[in-house]
Amino acid sequence: MDIRKKIVIVSIIYLCVLLLPFFINMQEHKYLMDIFLHLNLALTLANSWNILGGFAGQVSFGHAGFVGIGAYTVALLVHYLKLSCWTALLFSGFFSCCIALFLGLLTLKLRGPYFALATLATAEIAKIIVVGARSFTMGTQGVAVEKTPLLGSENYLVFLFLFALMLSFISIISSLLIRYSKTGYFFIAIRESENATMAAGINVFKYKVIALLISGYLAGAYGGILAIHTGFVDPESAFDISRTVEPIFISYIGGVGTVIGPIIGSLLLVPIGEVLRTEFTTAHLLFYGIMLILFATFFPKGLAGLIKLGARKNVAKNK
């Protein structure tokens, strides 16, 4: 299928979803809307991880860090500069991007596992600094994020719904555009073989940094929406380790390095995760762990790979 057709299909689906608030009373179905919001956010974060890890092959263990930085950017901007939380939201991805740039300049020239280790360390550093710089960040006490009316309306749930929807739409379209563009081919080339990519005269470092910036932006914006949604950030919740694992988990089970993978993964796993989280609090992490082991070991191409394989077998049978 042509990429233009794919973009049209995605847009139509999103337009249909956009009409949802007109048919469903959001206040009445709050639980459902919560799951839906989380679905969009999880999809965004999975795409963010997948663009960097799945396409460009740079595994990040620090997405919780980018999310936390995004969340604190919104919280502190609202707290100190009295910005409207929606204005602050625009900065969350940007600031997270800046941190990503710094990290990238530091580590992306190196090969091998340094990048993964450095992302892990960055997330920890950010958390330690937030906890430690008590006079500025309120430390473990956390910061309240005051919601402000937008365009004179106080229907926050609708706004959050729209922003989350927009963000996940942007993430899918970015993923599509990247996959089918020159840039995307170069990302994949880097994942496949850095030597061959360099020999082809491609600036490996530049493309790795681009992948990291896109990824950092999406994750930071995720953090911003999260901060507004919960109305409160503290180090434990903002830098929650599950934000590092969840996107990896969704990408791997859906199909890492594909556009469709994170979509399948989040549609399937977010509802399951949500149920597990409410029923058994920490058990969802155990579930993530077991699934990661199974998929990384036995089905490294994820569900997207299995479906493809099944389709091919079917075709072979019909012949």
Binding site: G57, V59, F61, L106, T107, L110, R111, G112, P113, Y114, A116, L117, A118, L120, A121, E124, I125, I128, I129, V131, G132, N195, I241, V245, I248, Y252, T282, A283, L285, L286, Y288, G289, I290, M291, L292, I293, A296, T297, F298, P300
Partner: protein, 287 residues
Amino acid sequence: MLIELILNGLIIGCIYALIAVGLTLIFGVMRIINMCHGDLVMLGMYASIILYEKYSILPYFSAILLQPFFLLLGALIYKLIDHIPLKQREMNSLILTLGVSFVISTSVMLIFSADYRTVTLPFSQEVLQLGVIRIGYPYVISSAFSIVIIVLFYYLIMRTKIGRAIRAVASDPETASTLGIDIKKISFLTYSIGVSLASIAGCIISPILYAYPFVGGIFIIKAFVIVVLGGMGSIHGAFLGALLLGVGESLIIPYFEHSMKDLFAFILFILFLLFKPTGIFGGKSRV
């Protein structure tokens, strides 16, 4: 007391070394990062705490007693890693061991809750007085224990046939395999040694540090820092890096508040990435 601080740092450094040297050895031989390394340390801590509370077995004996259990667990994880095709191993082993890390830490959390726990030995408060220097007994015993293990480990790696084979595979797998060394066997042995050292470190550190289900994260990050400091894959580098980190952390304690202590490791990490990414002992990075 400066000398006291340095000595304390060296003691902690010895235990860090047990953790980091396994990580660096596994990286050197298998070219993978064992993300669940810190959780194995944490599991060692919990196991020794339980054995002490239930049966009054001292953690130093548990360190030996628990080996069959840990070796079996290590073998199981190794089997999973070995199942991944070589071409995909670098990335997928990261994800796999991350999964293992989560399974171990959340299982411990579900069983023991997130509370902080430690072992209070009968001599926990007693202090060894050497002139003006005072060191707690648990520190003395743990460091002595870890020095014995380190010496045994060095003997194994430097003086035995197995050790030579391990070093050969780490420095050049192709040549090693043409010399008739069974790479799979050596990988398995290396992984087992790494797991064993991590579990011993966990047991003997339990009277000194608090255990909680996610403490493994701290250990693995520090071990990474040490491994990068020493040069990835370098055994001597890991020892030197561990002592350096231990002493460095100990020296800054009086000047920083406790929550910022761990920042030292990361600042060191970033400085090394900036100026000497191959580490103290690292030469040319392998392409």
